[in-house]
């Protein structure tokens, strides 16, 4: 073998050995680091500083930070986290870098406001974020809608919800339901009807698949809550009339109190349990339901949406 070929062969073998060794060592390092508790840290917290450091490419940096928000919330939500320490600061940075990034306000409020595990449980931060969005985009009626939504759903603050919807109704090209929402809030209307109206508007006006799926699941849950309330009232009424609990829904049907056997929005029959309790067949398929769940039921960490939503 010529000296040149010998060098080539040696170098090739060494390259393969060194590369595979470095990969093996890196795997070991990864294993060691995995056990190290990592703290959530945001090294640059000042939106103003980041805007200056962006050298005018603040729109691009806002997209980067928004992607970080989505990844942060998604990974923590998937892991069933109950605390989202960096969510509000990340959203503040994102929207300061690009105050016209409407999607960050809309989703941001949805990430921040709902109680854990659905969200961060920080409705005040969601309100501050949405108000900042309104100040910078006063013509976006959806932001007023989101604001009213947070006030109503998460804070049960009818007065401010009505005010938010009324402000939104004044925006040109606003959804006509905003006026109605404002009126409903002012009257402190029935919760299920108002919630249904809010989620229906969300379902109809969003172009995002995830929001639509979430709205559809909430609408099904509202339907179940209403059905269970009505069915339990019927069962109580049957008991008053006959002085005993019905054994099945067919007893109510025979008594002329029901037309057909009742089923949930997914087509599964409702179950009549002891002492007039009504339950759904599979509560895991109906996330967000407040009624109709078995005693001691713990919902899954991640709500299960239907592929058709």
């Amino acid at each position: 073998m010529s000296p040149s070929r010998r060098s080539t062969a040696t170098a090739t073998v060494l390259l393969a050995v060194f590369l595979s060794s470095s990969m093996l060592v890196l795997r070991q390092v990864d294993r060691m680091r995995r056990s190290t508790p990592l703290q959530e840290v945001l090294f640059l917290t000042s939106p103003k500083l980041l805007k200056r450091l962006s050298l005018g490419y603040d729109g691009l940096l806002a997209c980067v930070y928004w992607t970080r928000v989505v990844q942060y919330f998604g990974s923590k939500h998937f892991a069933g986290a109950r605390e989202y320490a960096l969510l509000a600061p990340l959203l503040e940075i994102t929207t300061a870098l690009d105050p016209h990034l409407i999607v960050a306000y809309e989703f941001g409020a949805n990430f921040l406001a709902p109680p854990p595990p659905g969200g961060a449980g920080e409705p005040e931060q969601a309100i501050a974020l949405t108000e900042f969005g309104i100040r910078n985009n006063p013509e976006e009626w959806r932001l007023y809608y989101d604001l009213g939504f947070v006030y109503y759903m998460d804070l049960h603050d009818y007065k401010n919800a009505a005010h938010a919807f009324a402000r939104g109704a004044q925006v040109p090209n606003a959804h006509p339901w905003l006026k109605l929402m404002a009126a409903l809030m002012a009257e402190h209307a029935g919760e299920i009807q108002t919630s249904r109206m809010l989620w229906t508007t969300t379902y109809q006006t969003t172009s995002d698949r995830n929001i639509r799926a979430n709205a559809a699941a909430h609408l099904r849950a509202l339907q179940v809550d209403e059905d269970v309330t009505n069915l339990e009232a019927l069962v109580s009424s049957y008991r008053q009339r006959t002085e005993h609990w019905p054994a099945a829904f067919s007893d109510l049907e025979a008594a002329g109190m029901l037309r057909g056997l009742p089923s949930d929005p997914l087509g599964q029959p409702y179950k009549l349990c002891g002492e007039g309790r009504v339950e759904v067949t599979d509560p895991d398929d109906l996330p967000f339901i407040q009624k109709g769940t078995p005693a001691g039921y713990v919902p899954p960490l991640k709500p299960r949406f239907l592929p058709t939503d």
Binding site: G56, Y57, G59, L60, A62, H100
Partner: protein, 258 residues
């Protein structure tokens, strides 16, 4: 006179387009525009914004890099290879040489930007499946980016007329960074008093105002750009590039090339 300038410009253009680094940078921008599609899919609701922001930022940053690194070598390379003496021994004035070099590189940058813009628009079409009328504002952002290149090229030529290529690159890059802070510099000037105010205001007007030439974020949101801003920026960039070019000519005219 114009024929000589055109000849130097076309030669500079031909020389620049033969540079392999140029192709690598353009290819990298096209790759970034393509990657923007994937980045957008990692997030929610910003596919279009990412393509425009990342695509135009890549065009701008890599164009500045090309302008600086080719611009600083325009004069020094000719001196190192001693081809400058051959050129100047002919009936070519020094200022014609500088202006021809500037126009040649400006032409290269316009052609490069056009190719990179095709990549951005292709990525945008892939994401949105159609173009909207408001997407036309992207052309304005690209036009402003080209104006930015003209200013940077003229500055690179100015610095290369009196310093080494490395120093010229550092100066040009620093001026680009400072120019991006021009608005803040003006804000700082407004907050100060007396001589500091005069100095800060003078500095703010002396450095090129690149922030006013950056409308990437607005066009990404389909916001229109005022016609008066287009006109003002055009005039400003031409005046500024002209100033830097005149400075380069003045220095080069008096430079001892022996």
């Amino acid at each position: 006179m114009s024929a000589r300038i055109a000849y130097i410009a076309s030669n500079t253009f031909r020389e620049a387009v033969r540079d392999r680094v140029l192709y690598n940078l353009v290819a990298f921008v096209l790759l970034l525009s393509g990657a923007a599609i994937l980045v957008g899919q990692l997030s929610i609701g910003i596919e279009r914004l990412v393509v425009i922001n990342l695509g135009l930022a890549a065009v701008s940053i890599f164009g500045v890099v090309i302008a600086i690194f080719i611009g600083i070598g325009l004069v020094s390379k000719e001196i190192d290879r001693r081809t400058l003496y051959t050129v100047l021994s002919r009936p070519v004035r020094r200022w014609e040489f500088i202006v021809g070099k500037f126009l040649g590189l400006a032409g290269t940058l316009v052609v490069n930007t056009s190719f990179m813009a095709i990549g951005v628009f292709a990525a945008l079409f892939y994401v949105t499946h159609r173009f909207e009328q408001a997407d036309g504002w992207i052309f304005v952002a690209l036009y402003f980016i080209v104006l930015q290149f003209l200013v940077i090229t003229a500055l690179a030529l100015l610095f290369s007329a009196f310093s080494t290529p490395v120093e010229s690159a550092v100066f040009a890059f620093l001026i680009f960074v400072i120019g991006s802070f021009a608005q803040d510099l003006r804000g700082f000037a407004a907050m100060t008093q007396g001589a500091t105010r005069w100095l800060a205001t003078g500095a703010a007007y002396l450095v090129p105002n690149f922030s006013s030439l950056n409308v990437i974020s607005s066009v990404a949101h389909q916001q229109p750009v005022a016609g008066t801003l287009i006109l003002s920026n055009t005039v400003y960039a031409l005046f500024y590039a002209g100033t830097a070019l005149c400075g380069a000519v003045l220095i080069f005219e008096h430079r001892n090339l022996k």
